[in-house]
């Protein structure tokens, strides 16, 4: 999923904690742009797991789940319409698994994500450059996968739309990027005809609270290397807590605070970059305490007649 934290976290959010695929050279939550008529192809593998989760605020393990893991392989592309306007699209195939208990894991194609990323302003400030980005994104389930099967569903099956403001400041080879995202989530339809949240609902439609998230990253950025520390925080604007020993539900209140490290390296091989990331959930509510790693390669195809220098 090229979708960001936000959307990924949603999907994840649940206990399944799918991570956003971030190995992207130029993703929807970094301050890098593809050059005009350049296409970046980015396959990524990601592995995420947890053996503790928060039932409301109560942190516990569950011997009937053991370790819940999520693997995904995603493919995404980022095309430079211009140097200041990028279009990103991608989708993952996801597998879930519980190491204990009897519940069967799930697998399948999850959601299509698409973003438009616009570098709106980039004035010089002091000795550095401030870049202001506006992004709009959407995610659409690609298959009729089962959402109401947490923590082993592959996603939440909600159509979403996100708006993001991102500001980056680069001073020499050091930078900091901050962004805030608001994600609208559509109601979902579940297979059952009634469900209990804090009261009984006699319908198969589920109201999904919207989501706010912030992302902060800072570190070293050169033409060859990006080494950065990550911090992200997401919260659903509503929802309800998992009750003691109850099953999770797609419209649970979900909060998650993650820290991580991301490294990208532009290899000596022309047009080829590699990327890796690790992250850890330090606090949460109604989500799994996931540890995630991912690794991806980025291959850049240049369709411009006159070769443009990579950012």
């Amino acid at each position: 999923m090229i979708n960001t934290k936000t959307i990924a976290l949603l999907a994840v959010a649940a206990l399944c904690l799918l991570r956003p695929m971030k190995g992207f050279a130029q993703t929807d939550d970094d301050a890098l742009m593809m050059a005009k008529k350049n296409l970046c192809i980015n396959p990524t593998y990601s592995y995420s797991s947890w053996d503790h989760y928060w039932e409301g605020t109560f942190k516990r393990n569950n011997l009937n789940l053991g370790t819940v893991s999520t693997q995904s392989v995603s493919l995404m592309g980022n095309y430079g319409i211009t140097g200041k306007l990028n279009f990103l699209v991608g989708a993952p195939y996801v597998w879930t698994h519980a190491s204990a208990g009897t519940l069967a894991g799930m697998h399948g194609v999850q959601d299509l994500s698409a973003w438009v990323k616009w570098l709106a302003l980039s004035p010089k400030v002091g000795n550095g450059v401030v870049s202001v980005f506006l992004l709009g994104g959407t995610s659409l389930p690609l298959t009729n996968y089962l959402a109401d099967y947490l923590p082993l569903s592959i996603g939440l099956h909600s159509k979403t739309f996100s708006g993001r403001l991102m500001v980056d400041y680069q001073l020499g080879k050091f930078f900091a990027t901050a962004s805030g995202t608001y994600t609208y989530r559509d109601d979902i339809t579940v297979d059952r005809t009634a469900y209990y949240t804090t009261t009984l609902h006699q319908t198969n439609k589920v109201y999904m609270p919207n989501v706010e998230s912030v992302n902060f990253r800072t570190g070293y950025r050169s033409n060859r290397w990006i080494i950065e520390a990550l911090f992200s925080d997401m919260i659903t604007l509503g929802g309800f807590d998992i009750r003691k020993n109850d099953m999770p539900f797609p419209s649970n209140k979900m909060e998650s605070t993650m820290v991580g490290v991301h490294v990208k390296y532009v290899t000596p091989i022309k047009h080829l970059e590699v990327s890796a990331e690790g992250s850890y959930t330090v606090a949460g509510r109604n989500v799994g305490q996931s540890k995630s790693v991912d690794a991806g390669i980025l291959y850049i195809l240049d369709f411009s007649k006159s070769k443009t220098k990579q950012p």
Partner: protein, 516 residues
């Protein structure tokens, strides 16, 4: 140029968002029902056969004040006072309750069952605490309203409502006091009109029954139910459907009839259904003595079996001899080739489920945190009863028939489960993963199959035009347990047959109670 194209794309995304943004409100399917408008008032219901009451007038209801009396004039003035300045919130509560008291209390009961249907979290030593009615508001909350508990709860509330409304109808016909809006034309009928006599109020009877039954069934919810009782009674009065004196008499009658059912419930053996560690061990010993692999809990830590002595509970339709007579022959021996084949079949079924199969599994799962399979059949029945325009008393009678069948199906099923103590497919082959939680009790026979088949039998009798539909729903509910990997086919096949046999007891009662 660049800015232009950026805006074009952003507009496109906004458009997509707006198109997908149309679904952000969820409402219940019974949220906006019209007032109950019975096609037949069932004026003779005072002569229908009650369940526990020996006579419809076992509990005396004093004659009401005449409509010309000062006391009744005061009742009417109270209504006029409310109607003088009715708020939209008050009107929406009137509308809610006007759709039918049996329906609304049934929904509230389903809500409570779902709320309390949570297995207790383990102690630090790996044992499990047992909810206790003598220790309310402490974890684990009482009750754990699992399927047998829920089946019994629905049955007691429905049966008590039915008896109380039989008595109510008896007195309505005896006293024939009109509704406030029919006595005084300046009073509006804000919740619909009925030709039925008003004293005692049927809505208040239902409220009284519910409030009283909660002492036994959901003791932590007495305050919640009391609040609903007041809301319903207030709505009845504000709507002009009942005078204060109609409501007072109705609630008192409801409580008295409910007390009969509470007394029965205290002695029906349900309190002992949890059993003791010795009981639990005896089931294993008995199975081993028959050279059978005994059932074990597939949870970690191992959880004691769910209500193993529920088969000893006193049913409404089947007595203890009938429970034994309804018991089917044994499942295939756990060491037999046919058991091996059945286990292999279960394994092959869950290997590559289709999306339609997972849909069916989830649709019928009714697992923890839900209103259970009997609750699901209450929901199915309620949806169809709404379209039948029943009177309240017929609503109550039909719900009572359904829920007595469900409770007795639970009793007979639990008797069979613990008589044979047969393992689940996953116990025989741990490679069998499941598409829903494995219930913590033996496999043979399937509870879903029995509940569903019993429900289909009585509902098909009540609404013959839907009999085929109920039968296929029941079959699908049974199949869902096979698709989920938690039952052998034979558990469901036999469960469907025995369930129908239990359902037929309810059908038989239906033909004899004077309502048909």
């Amino acid at each position: 140029m660049m800015v232009k194209s950026a805006f074009r794309l952003l507009w496109l995304l906004v458009l997509i968002a707006v198109m997908s943004a149309c679904n952000k409100s969820v409402s219940d399917r019974t949220a906006n029902l019209p007032p109950l408008a019975p096609s037949n008032q069932d004026l003779n219901a005072g002569s229908w056969l009650p369940i526990l009451l020996s006579r419809p007038d076992t509990f005396a209801v004093a004659a009401p004040a005449a409509t010309s009396s000062p006391a009744y004039a005061a009742d009417l003035n109270e209504i006029k006072g409310y109607q003088h300045s009715i708020t939209s919130d008050q009107q929406s509560k009137i509308d809610y309750w006007a759709a039918g008291g049996v329906l609304r209390w049934n929904e509230l009961l389903r809500d409570l069952v779902a709320k309390y249907n949570l297995p207790p979290y383990q102690n630090s030593d790996g044992s499990y605490p047992i909810p206790s009615s003598t220790n309310p508001f402490a974890y684990p909350l009482f009750p754990f309203s699992n399927p047998p508990y829920a089946a019994r709860a629905y049955a007691y509330v429905s049966a008590a409502q039915y008896d109380a409304l039989v008595a109510c109808w008896f007195y309505k016909q005896k006293y024939k006091r009109g509704t406030p809006y029919s006595v005084d034309s300046t009073i509006k009928a804000l919740g619909g009109k009925t030709a039925l006599a008003s004293y005692p109020s049927e809505g208040a009877v239902l409220a009284g029954v519910a409030a009283e039954m909660m002492q036994l069934l959901f003791p932590d919810e007495i305050a919640f139910v009391q609040q609903k009782l007041q809301e319903q009674e207030q709505s009845l009065i504000m709507s002009g459907a009942a005078a204060r004196s109609d409501v007072t008499a109705g609630e008192a009658l409801g409580r008295q009839v409910a007390d009969l059912f509470i007394a029965r419930a205290r002695g029906d053996n349900a309190g002992k259904a949890v059993g003791t560690p010795t009981d639990w061990a005896n089931f294993s010993t008995a199975a081993e003595a028959k050279n059978q692999v005994p059932w074990i809990s597939l949870e970690t830590p191992a959880r004691p079996p769910m209500l193993p002595l529920f088969g000893k509970v006193k049913g409404f339709l089947c007595d203890s001899a009938a429970v034994v007579a309804l018991r089917p022959g044994p499942p295939p021996s756990t060491s037999s080739d046919s058991m091996k084949e059945a286990t292999l079949a279960a394994y092959n079924t869950i290997k590559n489920p289709t999306r339609e199969q997972t849909r069916i599994v989830q649709f019928w799962a009714d697992g923890i945190g839900t209103y259970t399979p009997p609750g699901h059949w209450n929901a199915i029945a309620a949806q169809d009863f709404i379209g039948q325009n029943y009177s309240e008393v017929r609503w109550a009678r039909n719900m009572a028939l359904l829920n007595m069948a469900e409770m007795d199906a639970g009793i007979v099923c639990w008797d069979i489960k613990y008589f044979y103590f047969n393992p689940r497919p996953t116990q025989m082959n741990p490679a069998i993963k499941t598409l829903t939680g494995v219930p913590n009790f033996p496999s043979y026979v399937s509870g879903h199959s029995m509940f569903s088949s019993a429900a289909a039998a009585i509902l098909g009798h009540l609404i013959p035009a839907r009999a085929g539909a109920y039968q296929s729903m029941a079959q699908q509910a049974a199949d869902s347990r096979v698709y989920a990997g938690i039952h052998y086919q034979i558990d469901c096949t036999v469960g469907m047959t025995v369930g129908q046999n239990v359902g037929n007891y309810a059908v038989k009662r239906a033909t004899l109670d004077g309502a048909e």
